[in-house]
Protein backbone atom coordinates (compact mmCIF):
# COMPACT_ATOMS: atom_id res chain seq x y z
CA UNK A 1 0.00 0.00 0.00
CA UNK A 2 2.90 2.36 -0.70
CA UNK A 3 3.40 4.04 -4.06
CA UNK A 4 6.35 3.08 -6.21
CA UNK A 5 9.12 5.63 -6.68
CA UNK A 6 8.54 8.60 -8.95
CA UNK A 7 10.29 11.83 -9.86
CA UNK A 8 8.49 14.82 -8.38
CA UNK A 9 8.08 18.08 -10.30
CA UNK A 10 6.58 21.25 -8.89
CA UNK A 11 6.21 23.88 -11.61
CA UNK A 12 5.30 27.45 -10.65
CA UNK A 13 3.63 28.52 -13.90
CA UNK A 14 1.41 26.94 -16.55
CA UNK A 15 4.22 27.29 -19.10
CA UNK A 16 6.59 25.39 -16.83
CA UNK A 17 3.94 22.76 -16.14
CA UNK A 18 3.22 22.03 -19.81
CA UNK A 19 6.94 22.05 -20.66
CA UNK A 20 7.48 19.45 -17.92
CA UNK A 21 4.58 17.33 -19.21
CA UNK A 22 5.97 17.54 -22.75
CA UNK A 23 9.38 16.45 -21.43
CA UNK A 24 8.17 13.39 -19.52
CA UNK A 25 5.80 12.17 -22.23
CA UNK A 26 3.62 9.11 -21.64
CA UNK A 27 5.26 8.35 -18.30
CA UNK A 28 3.99 11.47 -16.53
CA UNK A 29 0.82 12.24 -14.63
CA UNK A 30 -0.59 15.49 -13.29
CA UNK A 31 -1.02 15.58 -9.50
CA UNK A 32 -3.63 18.05 -8.24
CA UNK A 33 -5.85 17.10 -5.28
CA UNK A 34 -4.74 13.48 -5.39
CA UNK A 35 -8.03 12.11 -4.06
CA UNK A 36 -8.41 9.63 -6.93
CA UNK A 37 -4.81 9.41 -8.14
CA UNK A 38 -3.09 8.70 -4.80
CA UNK A 39 -5.31 5.68 -3.94
CA UNK A 40 -4.43 4.28 -7.38
CA UNK A 41 -0.73 4.92 -6.67
CA UNK A 42 -0.97 3.43 -3.16
CA UNK A 43 -2.56 0.28 -4.55
CA UNK A 44 -0.09 0.35 -7.46
CA UNK A 45 -2.86 0.32 -10.00
CA UNK A 46 -0.84 3.16 -11.51
CA UNK A 47 2.91 3.74 -11.31
CA UNK A 48 3.90 6.77 -13.40
CA UNK A 49 7.62 7.62 -13.38
CA UNK A 50 6.90 11.35 -13.06
CA UNK A 51 4.32 13.33 -11.13
CA UNK A 52 3.77 16.99 -11.98
CA UNK A 53 2.31 18.75 -8.95
CA UNK A 54 0.16 21.67 -10.15
CA UNK A 55 -1.00 22.78 -6.71
CA UNK A 56 1.34 25.77 -6.68
CA UNK A 57 0.97 26.88 -10.28
CA UNK A 58 0.21 30.60 -10.36
CA UNK A 59 -3.41 31.51 -11.00
CA UNK A 60 -4.80 27.97 -11.22
CA UNK A 61 -6.69 28.12 -7.91
CA UNK A 62 -9.20 30.75 -9.01
CA UNK A 63 -12.99 30.42 -9.05
CA UNK A 64 -14.59 33.25 -11.03
CA UNK A 65 -17.91 34.27 -12.53
CA UNK A 66 -17.15 35.65 -15.99
CA UNK A 67 -19.50 37.43 -18.41
CA UNK A 68 -17.73 37.72 -21.74
CA UNK A 69 -20.70 38.75 -23.88
CA UNK A 70 -21.48 35.18 -24.97
CA UNK A 71 -23.23 34.67 -21.63
CA UNK A 72 -22.07 34.26 -18.05
CA UNK A 73 -20.14 31.23 -16.89
CA UNK A 74 -18.43 29.96 -13.78
CA UNK A 75 -14.72 29.37 -14.43
CA UNK A 76 -12.91 26.96 -12.16
CA UNK A 77 -9.11 26.70 -12.25
CA UNK A 78 -7.29 23.37 -12.17
CA UNK A 79 -6.08 23.72 -8.58
CA UNK A 80 -9.37 25.02 -7.12
CA UNK A 81 -10.82 22.64 -4.55
CA UNK A 82 -14.38 21.33 -4.62
CA UNK A 83 -14.79 23.10 -1.27
CA UNK A 84 -13.83 26.45 -2.80
CA UNK A 85 -16.47 26.09 -5.51
CA UNK A 86 -19.09 24.74 -3.10
CA UNK A 87 -18.73 27.63 -0.65
CA UNK A 88 -18.37 30.48 -3.15
CA UNK A 89 -21.37 32.75 -2.54
CA UNK A 90 -21.29 34.34 -6.01
CA UNK A 91 -21.19 30.92 -7.68
CA UNK A 92 -24.09 29.71 -5.52
CA UNK A 93 -26.14 32.75 -6.53
CA UNK A 94 -25.67 32.43 -10.30
CA UNK A 95 -25.34 28.64 -10.67
CA UNK A 96 -26.78 26.81 -7.63
CA UNK A 97 -26.47 23.44 -9.40
CA UNK A 98 -22.75 23.37 -8.65
CA UNK A 99 -23.29 23.43 -4.89
CA UNK A 100 -26.31 21.10 -5.18
CA UNK A 101 -24.11 18.50 -6.91
CA UNK A 102 -20.90 19.11 -4.97
CA UNK A 103 -22.63 18.31 -1.69
CA UNK A 104 -22.84 14.72 -2.99
CA UNK A 105 -19.15 14.43 -3.93
CA UNK A 106 -17.62 12.10 -1.31
CA UNK A 107 -17.18 13.82 2.08
CA UNK A 108 -16.15 17.36 3.09
CA UNK A 109 -12.67 16.10 3.99
CA UNK A 110 -12.19 14.76 0.46
CA UNK A 111 -13.65 17.93 -1.07
CA UNK A 112 -11.10 19.98 0.87
CA UNK A 113 -8.35 18.55 -1.34
CA UNK A 114 -10.09 17.14 -4.40
CA UNK A 115 -10.27 19.49 -7.37
CA UNK A 116 -13.23 20.07 -9.68
CA UNK A 117 -11.11 20.03 -12.83
CA UNK A 118 -9.25 16.94 -11.64
CA UNK A 119 -12.56 15.15 -11.20
CA UNK A 120 -13.63 16.16 -14.72
CA UNK A 121 -10.50 14.76 -16.36
CA UNK A 122 -10.52 11.64 -14.18
CA UNK A 123 -13.90 10.95 -15.85
CA UNK A 124 -15.31 8.44 -13.41
CA UNK A 125 -18.78 7.39 -14.64
CA UNK A 126 -20.05 8.16 -11.11
CA UNK A 127 -18.59 11.69 -11.02
CA UNK A 128 -21.25 14.32 -10.42
CA UNK A 129 -19.24 17.16 -11.98
CA UNK A 130 -18.97 15.47 -15.38
CA UNK A 131 -22.75 15.19 -15.47
CA UNK A 132 -23.13 18.84 -14.42
CA UNK A 133 -20.71 19.93 -17.16
CA UNK A 134 -22.61 17.82 -19.71
CA UNK A 135 -26.01 19.11 -18.55
CA UNK A 136 -24.92 22.73 -18.88
CA UNK A 137 -22.98 22.22 -22.14
CA UNK A 138 -19.75 23.33 -20.51
CA UNK A 139 -16.17 22.93 -21.60
CA UNK A 140 -12.60 22.43 -20.42
CA UNK A 141 -9.51 24.32 -21.60
CA UNK A 142 -6.48 22.14 -22.38
CA UNK A 143 -3.00 23.66 -22.63
CA UNK A 144 0.21 22.23 -24.03
CA UNK A 145 3.48 23.62 -25.32
CA UNK A 146 1.95 23.71 -28.79
CA UNK A 147 -1.11 25.75 -27.86
CA UNK A 148 -4.47 25.63 -26.24
CA UNK A 149 -7.83 24.10 -27.15
CA UNK A 150 -11.29 24.16 -25.65
CA UNK A 151 -13.20 20.87 -25.64
CA UNK A 152 -16.90 20.48 -24.92
CA UNK A 153 -18.15 18.12 -22.24
CA UNK A 154 -19.43 15.71 -24.89
CA UNK A 155 -15.98 15.48 -26.51
CA UNK A 156 -13.99 15.43 -23.27
CA UNK A 157 -15.12 12.06 -21.94
CA UNK A 158 -14.60 9.21 -24.41
CA UNK A 159 -15.32 6.30 -22.06
CA UNK A 160 -15.19 5.27 -18.42
CA UNK A 161 -12.13 7.04 -16.96
CA UNK A 162 -11.06 7.94 -20.47
CA UNK A 163 -10.76 11.41 -21.97
CA UNK A 164 -9.48 13.07 -25.12
CA UNK A 165 -6.52 14.60 -23.23
CA UNK A 166 -3.09 13.94 -24.69
CA UNK A 167 -0.30 13.09 -22.21
CA UNK A 168 1.33 16.49 -22.85
CA UNK A 169 -1.85 18.45 -22.11
CA UNK A 170 -2.86 20.12 -18.86
CA UNK A 171 -6.53 20.89 -18.19
CA UNK A 172 -6.22 24.44 -16.86
CA UNK A 173 -9.84 25.52 -16.43
CA UNK A 174 -13.44 24.35 -16.64
CA UNK A 175 -16.25 26.63 -17.80
CA UNK A 176 -19.78 25.96 -16.52
CA UNK A 177 -22.23 28.15 -18.50
CA UNK A 178 -25.01 29.87 -16.57
CA UNK A 179 -28.29 28.85 -18.26
CA UNK A 180 -30.42 31.59 -19.79
CA UNK A 181 -33.99 32.42 -18.80
CA UNK A 182 -36.04 31.48 -15.75
CA UNK A 183 -34.32 28.29 -14.67
CA UNK A 184 -34.18 26.04 -11.66
CA UNK A 185 -31.96 23.06 -10.95
CA UNK A 186 -31.76 20.12 -8.57
CA UNK A 187 -29.42 17.23 -7.92
CA UNK A 188 -30.48 14.02 -6.25
CA UNK A 189 -28.88 10.60 -5.94
CA UNK A 190 -29.03 7.33 -4.08
CA UNK A 191 -25.87 5.76 -2.70
CA UNK A 192 -25.42 2.82 -0.37
CA UNK A 193 -23.84 4.97 2.34
CA UNK A 194 -23.49 8.75 2.73
CA UNK A 195 -20.64 9.91 0.51
CA UNK A 196 -20.30 6.69 -1.50
CA UNK A 197 -20.46 6.63 -5.29
CA UNK A 198 -24.05 6.95 -6.45
CA UNK A 199 -25.97 3.87 -7.56
CA UNK A 200 -27.94 6.38 -9.62
CA UNK A 201 -27.63 10.17 -9.62
CA UNK A 202 -29.50 12.80 -11.58
CA UNK A 203 -29.25 16.54 -12.13
CA UNK A 204 -32.20 18.35 -13.70
CA UNK A 205 -32.44 21.77 -15.33
CA UNK A 206 -35.97 23.15 -15.83
CA UNK A 207 -36.73 26.36 -17.72
CA UNK A 208 -40.10 28.08 -17.29
CA UNK A 209 -41.79 30.79 -19.37
CA UNK A 210 -43.26 34.07 -18.10
CA UNK A 211 -46.52 32.25 -17.27
CA UNK A 212 -44.44 29.88 -15.11
CA UNK A 213 -45.17 26.90 -17.33
CA UNK A 214 -42.45 24.41 -18.17
CA UNK A 215 -40.69 25.40 -21.38
CA UNK A 216 -37.93 22.79 -21.28
CA UNK A 217 -36.48 20.15 -19.00
CA UNK A 218 -33.18 18.35 -19.32
CA UNK A 219 -31.43 15.81 -17.10
CA UNK A 220 -27.96 14.32 -16.76
CA UNK A 221 -27.19 11.02 -15.06
CA UNK A 222 -24.24 9.40 -13.30
CA UNK A 223 -23.64 5.66 -12.83
CA UNK A 224 -26.18 4.96 -15.57
CA UNK A 225 -23.68 4.30 -18.35
CA UNK A 226 -19.99 4.54 -19.24
CA UNK A 227 -20.20 8.31 -19.73
CA UNK A 228 -22.62 10.98 -18.42
CA UNK A 229 -26.02 10.50 -20.08
CA UNK A 230 -27.98 13.64 -20.98
CA UNK A 231 -31.71 13.34 -21.74
CA UNK A 232 -34.22 15.90 -22.99
CA UNK A 233 -37.31 15.46 -20.79
CA UNK A 234 -39.30 18.33 -22.28
CA UNK A 235 -41.88 16.34 -24.24
CA UNK A 236 -43.84 14.77 -21.35
CA UNK A 237 -43.81 17.91 -19.16
CA UNK A 238 -43.96 20.82 -21.64
CA UNK A 239 -46.56 23.40 -20.66
CA UNK A 240 -47.43 22.03 -17.23
CA UNK A 241 -47.68 24.50 -14.35
CA UNK A 242 -44.16 24.42 -12.91
CA UNK A 243 -45.16 25.42 -9.40
CA UNK A 244 -48.31 23.39 -8.91
CA UNK A 245 -48.05 20.29 -11.04
CA UNK A 246 -49.31 17.00 -9.62
CA UNK A 247 -46.76 14.31 -8.79
CA UNK A 248 -48.09 12.10 -11.60
CA UNK A 249 -47.30 14.84 -14.11
CA UNK A 250 -43.63 14.71 -13.09
CA UNK A 251 -43.75 10.91 -13.03
CA UNK A 252 -44.11 11.06 -16.82
CA UNK A 253 -40.60 12.54 -17.01
CA UNK A 254 -39.38 9.70 -14.80
CA UNK A 255 -40.96 7.08 -17.06
CA UNK A 256 -39.20 8.61 -20.05
CA UNK A 257 -35.86 8.38 -18.22
CA UNK A 258 -36.44 4.73 -17.27
CA UNK A 259 -37.32 3.91 -20.86
CA UNK A 260 -34.35 5.69 -22.45
CA UNK A 261 -31.48 4.80 -20.11
CA UNK A 262 -29.59 1.52 -20.47
CA UNK A 263 -27.68 0.98 -17.24
CA UNK A 264 -25.59 -2.09 -16.48
CA UNK A 265 -25.74 -4.56 -13.61
CA UNK A 266 -22.93 -4.53 -11.11
CA UNK A 267 -22.35 -5.80 -7.57
CA UNK A 268 -24.18 -2.79 -6.12
CA UNK A 269 -27.40 -2.88 -8.13
CA UNK A 270 -29.17 -4.58 -10.99
CA UNK A 271 -29.91 -2.70 -14.19
CA UNK A 272 -33.62 -2.95 -13.40
CA UNK A 273 -33.17 -1.34 -10.00
CA UNK A 274 -31.06 1.44 -11.51
CA UNK A 275 -33.79 2.06 -14.08
CA UNK A 276 -36.37 2.20 -11.32
CA UNK A 277 -34.23 4.68 -9.36
CA UNK A 278 -33.78 6.84 -12.44
CA UNK A 279 -37.56 7.11 -12.77
CA UNK A 280 -38.19 8.02 -9.15
CA UNK A 281 -35.22 10.37 -8.85
CA UNK A 282 -35.91 12.11 -12.16
CA UNK A 283 -39.49 12.92 -11.13
CA UNK A 284 -38.31 14.12 -7.73
CA UNK A 285 -35.48 16.28 -9.08
CA UNK A 286 -37.59 17.71 -11.91
CA UNK A 287 -40.27 18.80 -9.47
CA UNK A 288 -37.70 20.43 -7.16
CA UNK A 289 -35.98 22.15 -10.09
CA UNK A 290 -39.32 23.47 -11.39
CA UNK A 291 -40.26 24.88 -8.01
CA UNK A 292 -36.90 26.65 -7.84
CA UNK A 293 -37.38 28.00 -11.37
CA UNK A 294 -40.70 29.50 -10.26
CA UNK A 295 -39.09 31.02 -7.17
CA UNK A 296 -36.22 32.49 -9.19
CA UNK A 297 -38.61 33.83 -11.83
CA UNK A 298 -40.50 35.54 -9.01
CA UNK A 299 -37.26 37.02 -7.65
CA UNK A 300 -36.27 38.31 -11.08
CA UNK A 301 -39.70 39.85 -11.70
CA UNK A 302 -39.68 41.40 -8.26
CA UNK A 303 -36.20 42.82 -8.78
CA UNK A 304 -37.06 44.38 -12.13
CA UNK A 305 -40.20 46.18 -10.96
Amino acid sequence: MKPSAFAYHRPGTVDEAVATLAGVGDDGKVLAGGQSLVPMLNMRLAAPAHLVDVNRVDGLDEVRVVDDGAGASVRVGAAARHTDVEHDAEVAAVLPLLRQALEHVAHPTIRNRGTTVGSLVHADPAAELNAVLALLGGSVTLRSTTGSRVVNASELVTGPMQTCLRPDELATEAAFPVPQGHTGTAWTEVSRRAGDYAVCGVGVLVTVDDELRVRSARAAYVSMGPVPEVLDLTEPVAGIAAGGARPDEWAAAGRLATARLEPDDDIHATAAYRGHLAGVLTARAARAAAERAVARAGDTTGAST
Binding site: M1, K2, P3, S4, A5, F6, A7, Y8, R10, L31, G34, Q35, V38, P39, L41, N42, M43, L51, D53, N55, T83, A106, H107, P108, T109, I110, N112, R113, R193, A194, G195
Partner: protein, 178 residues
Protein backbone atom coordinates in the same frame (compact mmCIF):
# COMPACT_ATOMS: atom_id res chain seq x y z
CA UNK B 1 13.50 7.00 12.58
CA UNK B 2 13.46 7.39 8.82
CA UNK B 3 12.73 4.27 6.81
CA UNK B 4 15.81 2.94 5.01
CA UNK B 5 15.38 2.89 1.29
CA UNK B 6 15.77 -0.33 -0.65
CA UNK B 7 19.51 -1.00 -1.10
CA UNK B 8 20.80 -0.15 -4.53
CA UNK B 9 17.83 2.07 -5.26
CA UNK B 10 18.56 5.75 -5.68
CA UNK B 11 15.69 8.07 -5.03
CA UNK B 12 15.87 11.83 -4.88
CA UNK B 13 15.14 13.05 -1.38
CA UNK B 14 13.40 16.32 -0.62
CA UNK B 15 13.66 18.61 2.37
CA UNK B 16 10.19 19.09 3.84
CA UNK B 17 9.68 21.87 6.37
CA UNK B 18 6.33 22.04 8.14
CA UNK B 19 4.93 23.48 11.34
CA UNK B 20 3.20 20.71 13.29
CA UNK B 21 1.09 21.70 16.28
CA UNK B 22 2.95 25.00 16.42
CA UNK B 23 6.44 23.43 16.30
CA UNK B 24 8.69 23.83 13.21
CA UNK B 25 9.83 20.38 11.99
CA UNK B 26 12.03 19.29 9.10
CA UNK B 27 12.85 15.94 7.52
CA UNK B 28 14.40 14.80 4.28
CA UNK B 29 12.26 12.20 2.53
CA UNK B 30 11.64 10.64 -0.88
CA UNK B 31 8.80 12.18 -2.90
CA UNK B 32 6.63 9.12 -2.44
CA UNK B 33 6.55 9.47 1.38
CA UNK B 34 2.89 9.80 2.32
CA UNK B 35 2.09 12.64 4.70
CA UNK B 36 0.70 10.05 7.16
CA UNK B 37 4.00 8.13 7.16
CA UNK B 38 5.98 11.38 7.30
CA UNK B 39 4.18 12.32 10.52
CA UNK B 40 4.49 8.86 12.06
CA UNK B 41 7.89 7.61 10.89
CA UNK B 42 9.91 10.74 10.18
CA UNK B 43 8.51 13.04 12.88
CA UNK B 44 7.61 10.28 15.39
CA UNK B 45 4.10 11.68 15.85
CA UNK B 46 2.26 8.37 16.10
CA UNK B 47 -1.07 9.85 17.18
CA UNK B 48 -2.13 9.95 13.52
CA UNK B 49 -3.34 6.45 12.67
CA UNK B 50 -3.22 4.68 9.34
CA UNK B 51 -6.20 2.46 8.62
CA UNK B 52 -7.11 1.75 5.02
CA UNK B 53 -4.45 3.83 3.26
CA UNK B 54 -6.76 4.67 0.39
CA UNK B 55 -8.85 7.49 1.77
CA UNK B 56 -11.91 5.57 2.94
CA UNK B 57 -11.63 5.18 6.72
CA UNK B 58 -10.64 8.67 7.87
CA UNK B 59 -8.32 7.52 10.70
CA UNK B 60 -5.39 9.50 9.25
CA UNK B 61 -7.26 12.82 9.06
CA UNK B 62 -5.14 15.84 10.01
CA UNK B 63 -5.71 19.57 9.60
CA UNK B 64 -3.63 21.36 6.98
CA UNK B 65 -3.94 25.13 7.21
CA UNK B 66 -7.05 24.49 9.32
CA UNK B 67 -8.86 22.17 6.88
CA UNK B 68 -9.25 18.44 7.55
CA UNK B 69 -7.64 16.26 4.89
CA UNK B 70 -6.71 12.59 4.52
CA UNK B 71 -2.95 12.44 5.19
CA UNK B 72 -2.68 9.02 3.47
CA UNK B 73 -3.76 10.62 0.17
CA UNK B 74 -1.06 13.27 0.16
CA UNK B 75 2.68 13.25 -0.28
CA UNK B 76 4.62 15.08 2.40
CA UNK B 77 6.60 16.97 -0.24
CA UNK B 78 3.37 18.61 -1.49
CA UNK B 79 2.95 20.26 1.90
CA UNK B 80 6.36 21.85 2.32
CA UNK B 81 5.69 25.04 4.31
CA UNK B 82 2.24 23.99 5.59
CA UNK B 83 0.76 24.40 9.08
CA UNK B 84 -0.41 20.99 10.27
CA UNK B 85 -2.49 20.06 13.30
CA UNK B 86 -2.58 16.43 14.39
CA UNK B 87 -4.52 14.82 17.23
CA UNK B 88 -1.55 15.62 19.49
CA UNK B 89 -2.34 19.29 18.81
CA UNK B 90 -6.00 19.01 19.80
CA UNK B 91 -5.11 19.24 23.50
CA UNK B 92 -5.17 22.38 25.58
CA UNK B 93 -1.94 24.41 25.75
CA UNK B 94 -1.30 23.01 29.26
CA UNK B 95 -1.42 19.46 27.92
CA UNK B 96 -4.87 18.61 29.34
CA UNK B 97 -7.48 17.11 27.05
CA UNK B 98 -9.04 19.53 24.57
CA UNK B 99 -12.84 19.95 24.34
CA UNK B 100 -13.36 17.24 21.71
CA UNK B 101 -11.14 14.78 23.57
CA UNK B 102 -12.93 15.51 26.84
CA UNK B 103 -16.28 14.98 25.16
CA UNK B 104 -15.13 11.58 23.85
CA UNK B 105 -14.16 10.60 27.40
CA UNK B 106 -17.41 11.91 28.87
CA UNK B 107 -19.64 10.17 26.30
CA UNK B 108 -17.65 6.94 25.78
CA UNK B 109 -16.98 8.04 22.21
CA UNK B 110 -14.28 5.41 21.79
CA UNK B 111 -13.72 1.76 22.52
CA UNK B 112 -10.55 0.44 20.85
CA UNK B 113 -9.53 4.01 19.94
CA UNK B 114 -7.98 3.25 16.57
CA UNK B 115 -10.28 5.58 14.63
CA UNK B 116 -10.36 8.26 17.33
CA UNK B 117 -7.53 10.55 16.08
CA UNK B 118 -9.36 11.02 12.78
CA UNK B 119 -12.63 11.76 14.54
CA UNK B 120 -11.02 14.26 16.92
CA UNK B 121 -9.34 16.25 14.14
CA UNK B 122 -12.41 16.15 11.90
CA UNK B 123 -14.75 17.26 14.69
CA UNK B 124 -12.34 19.97 15.90
CA UNK B 125 -12.36 21.58 12.45
CA UNK B 126 -16.10 21.05 12.03
CA UNK B 127 -16.96 22.81 15.29
CA UNK B 128 -14.78 25.78 14.29
CA UNK B 129 -17.19 26.29 11.38
CA UNK B 130 -20.41 25.00 12.99
CA UNK B 131 -20.31 25.71 16.73
CA UNK B 132 -23.92 24.58 17.48
CA UNK B 133 -24.73 21.53 15.35
CA UNK B 134 -27.98 19.59 15.60
CA UNK B 135 -27.84 15.82 16.14
CA UNK B 136 -28.47 15.30 12.41
CA UNK B 137 -25.71 17.72 11.48
CA UNK B 138 -23.36 16.05 13.96
CA UNK B 139 -24.05 12.69 12.29
CA UNK B 140 -23.38 14.17 8.85
CA UNK B 141 -20.16 15.74 10.12
CA UNK B 142 -18.70 12.36 11.02
CA UNK B 143 -20.08 10.45 8.03
CA UNK B 144 -16.66 10.34 6.36
CA UNK B 145 -15.02 8.50 9.26
CA UNK B 146 -15.39 4.80 10.00
CA UNK B 147 -15.63 3.30 13.50
CA UNK B 148 -16.06 -0.45 13.90
CA UNK B 149 -16.70 -0.46 17.67
CA UNK B 150 -19.13 2.17 18.85
CA UNK B 151 -22.02 2.08 16.43
CA UNK B 152 -21.52 5.86 16.17
CA UNK B 153 -24.26 6.87 18.62
CA UNK B 154 -21.77 7.76 21.34
CA UNK B 155 -19.66 9.65 18.82
CA UNK B 156 -22.67 11.74 17.77
CA UNK B 157 -23.20 12.42 21.47
CA UNK B 158 -19.53 13.40 21.75
CA UNK B 159 -19.86 15.96 18.94
CA UNK B 160 -22.81 17.57 20.73
CA UNK B 161 -21.01 17.44 24.09
CA UNK B 162 -17.86 18.99 22.57
CA UNK B 163 -19.97 21.85 21.23
CA UNK B 164 -21.33 22.41 24.75
CA UNK B 165 -17.86 22.37 26.31
CA UNK B 166 -16.57 24.83 23.75
CA UNK B 167 -19.48 27.20 24.22
CA UNK B 168 -19.05 27.04 28.03
CA UNK B 169 -15.43 28.07 27.50
CA UNK B 170 -16.11 30.88 25.00
CA UNK B 171 -15.72 29.91 21.37
CA UNK B 172 -13.11 27.25 22.15
CA UNK B 173 -10.89 28.41 19.31
CA UNK B 174 -8.18 29.52 21.72
CA UNK B 175 -7.51 25.87 22.47
CA UNK B 176 -6.42 24.95 18.98
CA UNK B 177 -2.72 25.69 18.57
CA UNK B 178 -1.78 28.10 15.81
Amino acid sequence: MSIEEHPGRTETRHDVRVTVNGVPRTATVPARRLLSDFLRHDLALTGTHVGCEHGVCGACTVLVDGRPIRSCLQFAVMHDGAEITTVEGCTRPDGELGPVQRAFRDCHGLQCGFCTPGFVTTITAYLDEHPRPSATEAREAISGNLCRCTGYQSIVDSVLRAAEIRSDQGDGRGETPQ
